[in-house]
């Protein structure tokens, strides 16, 4: 479960940056074309945050899609998974872009 390693990294970075402050919320961006499952990330966060600066923090996950163009109908397609098809039924898409981010955007401390 790679989400476990990601959660450890998240907790490490946030704890360092909080410099002892209590963290109320942390906002993470997860690209929909990565192999990271938000449910698993949440589960790991619950399990790993106890006893850390994030013990009472809310985890906010912002899912961002990828984009590609359909070579058959020319429409711009929003991709929620790697092997998504165009709405016209075609799977013949251009190389996608975006949707592969794994980033800690911000945190709110008190």
């Amino acid at each position: 479960m790679h989400e476990f390693a990601l959660t450890r990294s998240l907790i490490e970075v946030c704890s360092q940056q909080a410099q002892g402050a209590r963290i109320r919320r942390v906002t993470v961006e997860v690209g929909m074309l990565t192999c990271v499952m938000p449910e698993a990330l949440r589960f790991c966060f619950e399990a790993c945050s106890a006893g850390t600066a994030l013990a009472e923090a809310e985890l906010e996950i912002i899912m961002t899609p990828g984009r590609a163009r359909c070579r058959d109908c020319g429409e711009e397609v929003e991709l929620n998974e790697l092997l998504a098809d165009c709405g016209c039924g075609s799977g013949n898409l251009t190389e996608w872009r975006g949707g592969d981010t794994l980033r800690i955007r911000s945190m709110e401390v008190v």
């Binding site: 390693a5 919320r25 192999c35 799977g91």
Partner: protein, 285 residues
């Protein structure tokens, strides 16, 4: 397992030196925050970027909060260590390949044969990743090659810190090759850059030809797909062309070689690919 966070306190990554039988910690220590342990810094600290603090007005109804913009990649630490590994490997003209597959695809058998048949041509060292046991490293060492075993314990993939430790241990000679046999797992290792030149995914024909679309991230991340156990093709419903089509749908650039590590069929193409990759890696530098 650690009772306070559920992390694998008793399942830490371990590196075993088969010469001395010595076992020690490999990679980043568990519990970076709440057990007071220091983490592996790989000789220098990592720039985390400057945190921008600014007060927010929206917390009026609640306790006054401060939003800290971090804008940092979640894998920043691993990626930084991977970059460091890659630079070191480049400096020493060492080709590092990250072999990934599901368990039982034949990575170790392929490696054993490759090491025997390339012996005398190019020195190869091996990093063996498994959750437990030193069986694979022992099989590799029987071929006469240097090998270290990394046991990830509860972990499901190798990371860049583990490779850094393994490189320290192996001290591979300049101009050589490192084969990293990752933990058998078609999901997690896709996400973790070790600093390798390329990921090579091994898929055996006994597994089903739809694996590339079932596990697209790994096939997306790989530069080469090896279709192994070709000698068993007549006995299974595996359509080579369909499998290659699926792999190319996920990754149009992926190279494909079909072979049998047992009979030796198709291995010449693999060796040619290794030689060409060693050449290309040097030219990249």
């Amino acid at each position: 397992m650690c009772t306070s966070c559920g992390c694998s306190g008793d399942g830490k990554a371990r590196l075993t030196d088969l010469d001395t039988g010595e076992t020690r910690s490999a990679g980043v220590d568990e519990h970076p925050n709440h057990h007071g342990s220091t983490h592996h810094e790989h000789g220098h600290s990592i720039a985390h970027g400057h945190a921008h603090r600014h007060d927010e007005a929206h917390g009026q109804a609640r306790e006054q909060g401060t939003t800290i913009m971090l804008e940092q990649a979640l894998l920043a630490k691993n990626d930084h260590l991977a970059m460091h590994n890659r630079a070191w490997l480049m400096d020493h003209n060492i080709l590092a390949l990250n072999l990934v597959s599901s368990p039982g695809a034949g990575k170790t058998t392929l490696l054993e044969r490759t090491l025997r048949e390339l012996a005398g041509e190019i020195p190869v060292s091996v990093v063996e990743g498994d959750q437990e046991s030193v069986f694979d490293a022992e099989r590799i060492r029987a071929t006469g090659c240097a090998a270290v075993q990394i046991n990830t314990g509860a972990g499901c993939h190798l990371d860049a810190a583990m490779l850094a430790r393994a490189l320290d241990e192996l001290a591979p000679p300049p101009g050589s090759m490192i084969m990293i046999e990752n933990v058998g797992n078609l999901v997690c290792p896709a996400l973790f850059d070790l600093g390798e030149w390329a990921k090579v995914v091994v898929l055996s024909v006994t597994e089903g030809d739809d694996k590339p679309v079932k596990y697209p991230h790994m096939f997306r991340a790989a530069r080469l797909m090896l279709l192994n156990k070709l000698d068993l093709l007549a006995h299974v419903d595996f359509d080579l062309e369909r499998c290659i089509g699926y792999a190319r749908r996920v990754n149009p650039q992926i190279g494909v070689l079909a072979l049998s590590a047992r009979t030796g069929e198709g291995l010449d193409g693999w060796y040619q690919w290794l030689r060409a990759s060693a050449y290309a890696q040097r030219r990249t530098e």
